[in-house]
Subunit: 316 residues, 3 copies
Amino acid sequence: MKKYTSAYDVADVNELVKEALHLKENPYNYKSLGENKTLGLVFLNPSLRTRLSTQIAGNNLGMNVMVMNLDKEGWALETQDGAIMNGTTVEHIKEAAAVMGQYCDIIGIRSFPKLQDRDEDYSEDLLNKFISYAKVPVVSLESATRHPLQSLADLVTITEQKPAGKKPKVVLTWAPHVKSIPQCVANSFAEWMQQADVELVITNPEGYDLADEFTKGATVLHNQDEALKDADFVYVKNWSSYEQYGKVLTDGEGWMMNNEKLALTNNAKVMHCLPVRRNVELSDEILDGPNSLVLEQANNRTYAAQAVLKRMLEAL
Amino acid sequence: MKKYTSAYDVADVNELVKEALHLKENPYNYKSLGENKTLGLVFLNPSLRTRLSTQIAGNNLGMNVMVMNLDKEGWALETQDGAIMNGTTVEHIKEAAAVMGQYCDIIGIRSFPKLQDRDEDYSEDLLNKFISYAKVPVVSLESATRHPLQSLADLVTITEQKPAGKKPKVVLTWAPHVKSIPQCVANSFAEWMQQADVELVITNPEGYDLADEFTKGATVLHNQDEALKDADFVYVKNWSSYEQYGKVLTDGEGWMMNNEKLALTNNAKVMHCLPVRRNVELSDEILDGPNSLVLEQANNRTYAAQAVLKRMLEAL
Amino acid sequence: MKKYTSAYDVADVNELVKEALHLKENPYNYKSLGENKTLGLVFLNPSLRTRLSTQIAGNNLGMNVMVMNLDKEGWALETQDGAIMNGTTVEHIKEAAAVMGQYCDIIGIRSFPKLQDRDEDYSEDLLNKFISYAKVPVVSLESATRHPLQSLADLVTITEQKPAGKKPKVVLTWAPHVKSIPQCVANSFAEWMQQADVELVITNPEGYDLADEFTKGATVLHNQDEALKDADFVYVKNWSSYEQYGKVLTDGEGWMMNNEKLALTNNAKVMHCLPVRRNVELSDEILDGPNSLVLEQANNRTYAAQAVLKRMLEAL
């Protein structure tokens, strides 16, 4: 694998899930694979789970791991071709990525969207340029439009927890939040579920439909109660509007997932990528109750990252 | 050992001192103990000695060590049960601690008091909740009321330096400072000295008495000169008022430890946890002279941390 | 080697270049040398290449590497002897350096000049005090007046690329920039080139002559076109005025290195230490063209650092 930025970079997502589950059982079996190999983790935005789980994944494979908070320890990157750099950007991504590519065998990079210009964000300009100039395999640690390590961990979790002998109904539901949040986790989850053997229903208020490229093939409903009916898994997540890009259109009263909503489902397992705003997106009763999978998801982040890194190491 | 937050978490402090001294002689003898184990160090406040010495302690035991500056690289934690998280806190400690507990085999955490609400600080709410939700062994890297790795290093240093055949007189003296400082180092030192075979005298201006739970059994004097008489060790430290909580009540003129004060002692060794405000808390002549133990204390931080981590690894 | 702060700390720069080239071929041959040794990297200023390449150099030699962003994670250091520390500095360099020297076997430190007081900057007070108090070997990761790991990497690159059978002409040329930049890279490059078997010409606008100690023996020209004639290597770098210390005296119109200038040379290879302001210091056409060595220079940073660390480890 030369890059890992979306489900489309993976030949067979189910095989990758199997690999992750195998690594969960045998995390230290491949320590020689990463010997004398360096994993560089570049953060242009904050991270907790992604940073720690990917560090451990690298360690488990015997790699040296270096973390670089480019936003705090480094400097602003220029991405425009031909820019006359007489402003605030200190280094062009051409040099920054190429240099890090020389130092590292594999690079992970996180870069959030600015949520101001949809075309710019959805072009994934920074990520694509970084990959192109770095020349080494690159793992997205969350980009403007997707969060593929999260989605792989989510699919691993669903695979572990799904009822036997039945195609599970998975509902991705919008939830309220207090600020403008990217669509990437929701986009990415939808993208991955469409590669998996599940029935996907997406529910959100009007004005919050995700981009067609992510929703095509799924059922989209604006009535949450209708969507939740008989769900086996409910994935709760806020996102800002794609149509009125980056805007918060409603406070979403009545959209918080709670036990009353849970009663509509098939005793569904409830998922969230974390961090979660308690009692805004999801009620305490759910998060502290037996139906929550949020910690299992976070735990599976390690093995999702390890499966991807293992594939990349094998292809070096 | 499942947690290390105070002297009361240690069955026998003298055995732990012996362990630390043994590790100081043989720092790399237990490298297999930490193989494939991860130590997470979580900082909600700045750190120099604690961070570096604990990192080295983990490395000496063969652990992978991950440092997480949660204040700078992460986000604000909610600690209130039942909070409706529509404000500035981004993640509840329930999730944050539980997730880090899944990723790490042992966690160290530093969290300073806010010095505004005494009951809140002395409840050690954040530390206790973190331990409860993390589920793995937790080492305090300094909390609202105590700094137990510092105190263990202090007791190791006193053990190395104490005169033979005599119960040493140890004086903990308040010193001036320019800002409001927590009581935790002083509290903790008093707590540990009461478990050790020393005579403890505490001296501070009126209004600066520490909480009873830490001073009971010790002699408390408001006359520094009287307290210093015949001291074998003088531990110098500023703290803000416990009674008028967090307040600075005096500029402490005449309380700075210097050679004139040293002349009152039994040629005492002088200690400080660092960082020290030179010529405010302690004079240059003492810090640069033969009686200072401050660097020995800092050096022993590594072996104090290593002794605690070794115990925790053995009990995993 | 006990310290590495300038070319004068190296007995024979050509031998050190050979060592670096040997390590570039065999980066993992000396992993046992650094076993149970700790490299501490202390940054008082931002860093990308230096941080990553020196981390990898330490890892390649089997060392544990700890990064400490003292400016962000730590606190302000006092350097004045006898200071009454009742202001904003939290710890004296006497203690900070001594403690880090106890924790680490080798320390790297980066500290930029303030560009306000020339005598203060050129005294290298902070670096010299740090070395004196740390007591362990210290590597400069760029100081007020020099950047010796960069210069070694530059000499390694020139050695790899130089035309056979000819003493190459190396031109160090000033370039425009948008802010006030230290002289250290230029100083250091000049210092190292004078130890190497090259003809050194320095060109800059009037008012930008470097200090005599760095330029003596080299040809200094204020006419860039004349200087570039028949150059085999052109090293492009901005620096602020040494004479009118720290000042920007001109916008440097006409001094940017581009293909028109390149035509004056002997098809020169073009060098820059990075980060580079594209189309201000150097044109896109050069950086994206076949004559640029900037990535080779950055890549050689790893082996320059490794050569220095290897020498220090051997002398421990």
